[in-house]
């Protein structure tokens, strides 16, 4: 690519990215919101905090070690993995698929100890019900999905590379963004073991909150997970016509009050009403374009992704870039979650229930209310429980100010 072309492309991307960030960044959370000076002791008892800290510390370090091993293994695979091409009688793309799948397979083997450690720790704290063999089987079956995905991804990328050579990323990035949209849209249909909500009050609340947030009614489904875990959770999935909200049955087992569950419901509806999933596509696109360009650059010495032997390098660079981008993506995630919390507060008018919900998470889900800064930066896609409680109190203060001018 000539220098002038490169400069023009860079400029175009910078302008586009700037515009995208300008469009995607704002949220409903007031910029001048002042969070009250609460501490961990205001959220939970010392014993619960200690337990949550102990629980999360192990998992945190387990994850860090796992990621270090991932990088080391993939670096080694990038260096030597192309030799496994001798195991293929397929053409370039077929061999590339094989190398991609084998890379994931090797990674899978190295991650087993960390996964088992995580299950062991969670079982120690009664946060998981799943047995080790059951987990291993589920982990194995999950690998089938990963193999299928990487084959599709490599077929696209290497297919483009056959025609466009090292400019494959120009077509590859939009293709991946389109795949992301398809996956996000179809996710609700991929969720197993779900059923309609059977609580009329909850269903009515869902309708009411959707109306108040200015969006069409969104179907609410219950996902049965209590056979595997005790942890409470809920999430929004789908886009436009496929939008749904999934609530885990562990959230409805009596440990949370109805009002607290309604806060969760309003929060998840807010993800849809504020178009967070579409915004995720936008953020993904912002990273997909330079990310695919960097992968193309990194694989140039191995013949770009036109050659199967470049696949191990591409795999390593892809994972490394994902890890590097994680802190930024986490900031985006935390902003969206904070917005959903804020909109939920605006919808339910119930900061007491919101605070109760977040405090209960510390007890029930063993969520550390105030994890170390580096951990939040690297891992957390949600604000800390402490910050969420502080937002609830800040909202209370603001609403009292509104009602008592």
């Amino acid at each position: 690519m000539r220098r002038a072309e490169r400069a023009a492309a860079l400029l175009a991307f910078a302008v586009g990215a700037g515009a995208a960030v300008w469009a995607l960044w704002p949220t409903d959370v007031p910029d001048d919101l002042e969070l009250p000076p609460l501490g961990q002791a205001d959220v939970a008892s010392a014993a619960h905090i200690r337990e949550a800290e102990r629980f999360e510390t192990f998992l945190r370090w387990d994850y860090v070690l796992a990621e270090v091993v991932v990088l080391l293994v993939l670096a080694l695979y990038a260096w030597r993995g192309h030799r496994l091409a001798r195991e293929s009688a397929a053409g370039r793309i077929g061999t590339g698929m094989l190398l991609g799948m084998l890379g994931l397979g090797i990674l899978w083997i190295t991650q087993i100890p960390f996964g088992l450690a995580e299950i062991w720790w969670a079982r120690r704290y009664d946060a998981a019900e799943v047995g080790y063999l059951e987990w291993l089987l589920g982990y194995w079956l999950g690998l089938a999905g990963q193999f299928g995905f990487i084959c599709l991804a490599l077929a696209i990328v290497m297919g483009f590379a056959q025609v466009l050579r090292d400019r494959w990323w120009v077509a590859g990035a939009p293709a991946f963004i389109a795949l992301y949209v398809v996956f996000a849209w179809s996710l609700p249909w991929l969720i197993p073991d779900d059923r309609p909500v059977d609580d009329p009050a909850l269903a009515a609340a869902a309708q009411r909150y959707a109306r108040e947030q200015g969006t069409d009614p969104i179907p609410v489904r219950i996902e049965d997970v209590s056979a595997y875990t005790d942890s409470p959770n809920a999430f929004a999935a789908g886009m436009d016509a496929s939008r749904k909200i999934f609530i885990w049955d562990t959230l409805l087992d009596g440990r949370f009050t109805d009002d607290e569950v309604h806060v969760v419901l309003a929060h998840e509806i807010a993800h849809h009403s504020r178009e967070h999933i579409w915004k995720s596509v936008g953020w993904y696109a912002l990273f997909a374009v330079p990310g695919t360009f960097l992968i193309a650059l990194a694989t140039r010495r191995r013949g770009t992704l036109r050659e199967a032997q470049a696949v191990p390098v591409a795999l390593f660079v892809f994972v490394a870039l994902n890890l590097a981008a994680q802190p930024i993506l986490n900031v985006v995630g935390r902003r969206m979650e904070a917005e959903a919390d804020w909109v939920a507060l605006e919808t339910t008018d119930d900061p007491t229930a919101a605070r109760g919900l977040f405090e209960q998470f510390t007890v029930v889900a063993l969520a550390d209310p105030s994890p170390p800064r580096w951990s939040t930066l690297l891992f957390d896609t949600h604000p800390t429980m402490l910050d969420r409680v502080r937002m609830a109190e800040a909202w209370r203060e603001r609403s009292e100010g509104r009602s008592h001018p």
Binding site: S88, A89, A90, G94, M97, L98, I106, A144, C151, A155
Partner: protein, 405 residues
């Protein structure tokens, strides 16, 4: 053998990559998808080919080539899945894969035969289902094969390949036999060839001749079958089944005594060896009669001289360690014997109809059944301490002046 329409080519060296063996089923995921797409196309093109062949008496060359490519590709995928070959197959069915099939070019076919092709193929498809041990399922016809013999081979071969880094030749050859028969059936059904599929187990010489084994099956049967005894074959078995059961219980008890004796003495006791040898020989005569591998009503004492007879070694020294673990060591062989039992059933059921119609047992069915009987006899001889030599599951090969592959 040279007049077979589908010739098997075996250039596999038995070496297996432990890494790709471990993930074999998952690595084949893209091939499942592609095979499904190709099967879909083959189905509709086969209908078109049928019309043309019935009207013109000759298939369309382009579709003929398409179907040959499909059969070849499916054979490659089947071989990969069954661990009969090592490298990841290409997606276009190009010749040159270590387990490959060579199919003759398009030729004139009788219009009547073409018109009734599917009907005429029913016995062969039925045989295929019996050999496979299951019904049609999965993404293509080759998945049908995976239910019985080939699946047993793949299952055992997986463990063997992980431990040894190579596939046992007997298992590889057995899988190759199953794959060739499947290719012949589909070549017949897809109007690629008018030659009826043959269950004859003989493989090309370059697949590697079976090693010499002290337990040998001698077949001097002339394939003539009495329609009368064929019709009542099952009922004629009744007295033998009663006698076989009593003798079997006694043989089991004697085998336990023989085991202890052999452990202590380092060789089997001659009288007990003779008793057990007679029982194994009798069982072979009985099954040969019952499944129409032989014609005359057998004696009750297992005396040599039956048209399908067994040569057994005299008692000899046997390693105590191997004797100690004889039953666990025999387990894989029992699995294969069970799978080959379907071949025997297939031969018997198909042979019953053929013998009633023709007064003769087709050579393919007879030889396939004989192979199953031979292996069963070797397994029983091994388990009952008649020989220390492990059973060899590979089918016989055609005679050749060339050195085996």
């Amino acid at each position: 053998m040279s007049d077979r329409p589908v010739r098997l080519l075996v250039t596999d060296d038995l070496e297996r990559s432990r890494l790709t063996v471990f993930f074999r089923l998952l690595l084949a995921i893209p091939h499942f998808f592609w095979l499904g797409v190709w099967t879909f196309g083959a189905f509709f093109s086969a209908i078109a080919q049928w019309f043309v062949t019935v009207l013109r008496g000759r298939p369309v060359p382009r579709l003929h080539e398409f179907h040959i490519g499909y059969i070849r590709y499916a054979t490659h995928v089947g071989a990969y899945l069954a661990l009969a070959a090592n490298p990841f197959p290409g997606f276009l069915g190009a010749p040159g894969y270590p387990i490959d099939v060579e199919i003759a070019s398009a030729e004139r076919q009788g219009r009547l035969g073409a018109l009734l092709r599917l009907l005429l193929a029913l016995p062969a498809l039925f045989m295929l289902v019996l050999i496979s041990g299951g019904g049609p399922s999965g993404v293509g016809p080759y998945w049908v094969v995976s239910g019985g013999i080939v699946a047993a081979v793949a299952f055992l071969g997986w463990f063997a390949s992980l431990v040894r880094g190579c596939m046992p030749r007997g298992l590889r050859n057995l899988a190759a036999y199953g794959l060739r028969y499947t290719a012949e059936v589909y070549a017949y059904v897809l109007l690629v060839t008018p030659v009826y599929p043959s269950t004859d187990p003989r493989l090309p010489a370059h697949a590697g001749a079976p090693p010499s084994h002290p337990v040998r099956l001698d077949v001097v049967d002339d394939r003539r079958r009495s329609r009368l005894t064929t019709f009542f074959r099952f009922f004629l078995l009744v007295p033998h089944l009663v006698w076989f059961s009593f003798w079997g219980v006694l043989a089991l008890l004697i085998a336990v005594v023989q085991w202890f004796f052999t452990l202590v003495a380092g060789h089997p006791a001659s009288p007990l060896h003779r008793f057990l040898a007679a029982w194994v020989r009798y069982q072979t005569h009985l099954f040969a009669f019952g499944f129409l591998i032989a014609n005359p009503f057998p004696g009750f004492t297992g005396t040599p001289g039956y048209p399908v007879d067994l040569e057994l070694p005299p008692p000899g020294r046997q390693r105590r360690l191997v004797t100690l673990f004889r039953l666990p060591l025999a387990l894989p062989a029992f699995v294969v014997s069970g799978a080959l039992g379907w071949l025997l059933y297939a031969a018997g059921i198909g042979g019953w109809f053929a013998a009633l119609a023709l007064g003769r047992m087709p050579s393919g069915l007879r030889d396939a059944g004989a192979h199953a009987l031979r292996y069963s006899a070797q397994v029983n001889a091994y388990a009952l301490l008649l020989t220390e030599r492990y059973p060899f599951s590979g089918p016989p090969v055609e005679p050749s002046d060339d050195a085996p592959g």
